[in-house]
């Protein structure tokens, strides 16, 4: 049997990859993809906890399913914003989108 910690390590590394992408990339779509990675890392944790700690209760699976919803809603709105910004400002570079900065 695979130890629980292995899953947690993979999830932690995946989460950090996502954090790095969100911080280092300039392209808004790339940042959104990094956020998807982070959400997936969280989901791995939820499912691993469900499997190893309480397989007879359904909590972990239900939470993971709700994360799916939030991820989908977030992506939909995020991409709509990106497309809208691209159409009005002709860029998807996060550095240039500073309308709300000051």
């Amino acid at each position: 049997m695979v130890p629980l910690t292995w899953y947690l390590v993979v999830a932690a590394v995946l989460f950090c990859i996502g954090v790095f992408g969100a911080l280092a990339r300039r392209n808004a779509v790339a940042v959104l993809m990094s956020i998807e990675l982070m959400l997936n890392a969280v989901n791995i944790n939820l499912v691993a906890f469900w499997r190893y700690l309480e397989p007879d209760k359904i909590v972990g699976q239900a939470f993971a399913a709700f994360v799916f919803i939030v991820a989908a809603a977030g992506t939909a709105v995020g991409l709509a914003l990106i497309i809208s910004v691209y159409r009005s400002r002709d860029t998807v570079d996060m550095e240039n989108v500073d309308l709300m900065k000051w």
Binding site: T5, Y7, V10, A24, V29, A30, M33, F66, Y86
Partner: protein, 167 residues
């Protein structure tokens, strides 16, 4: 080392490699394909955890819907064959140091905690039906479940409004 462990290491490294490629690829479309590989790897990890329903849902939702939307956005925002630079070296250094620090903190916490070492109980045969019942059970998730549908409708109305051509 058992077969399961070998499988886990294989799938875990595929997932992480896909993720790493996603955030480092210069070409955004290739990055999106890396994301798909990572998502498929996560689905395989779910299957390894015997969460069969979530594994299929991961493929159907993330790869079948969200990844397609992302690729649409890549193409709509002039992503065709374009190279996208990362930020300047200074902020690159800062973000990598920050990430490594975060990872160190996470791993240290993770290994200091005393996780139960026992072999987990078997997954009940009707776990999918259980999930279905829990979602409409007033004592469990019926409220978040109905709120989720409202959230989805709100997301659709909002994003359709934002993205629509305004004449």
């Amino acid at each position: 080392m058992t077969t399961l462990q070998v499988m886990f290491i294989l799938l875990g490294s595929i997932t992480l490699a896909g993720g790493l490629y996603t955030v480092t690829a210069r070409n955004l479309f290739h990055g999106a394909l890396g994301l798909i590989v990572a998502l498929a790897g996560v689905a395989a990890l779910y299957a390894l955890l015997e969460a069969s329903f979530l594994a299929a849902a991961q493929v159907a939702i993330y790869i079948g819907a969200i990844a397609i939307m992302i690729i649409f956005a890549v193409m709509l925002t002039r992503g065709v064959m374009g190279a996208y630079p990362v930020k300047d070296l200074w902020s690159l250094a800062v973000s990598s140091i920050g990430t490594v620090l975060l990872l160190a903190v996470l791993l240290v916490t993770l290994f200091r905690f005393n996780w139960p070492q026992t072999t987990p109980a078997a997954v009940p045969a009707d776990s999918i039906a259980q999930l279905g019942k829990a979602l409409v059970d007033p004592n469990l998730y019926v409220l978040p479940f109905e709120v989720a549908s409202v959230l989805l409708v709100a997301a659709l109305i909002g994003s359709a409004y934002i993205a629509r051509d305004k004449k």
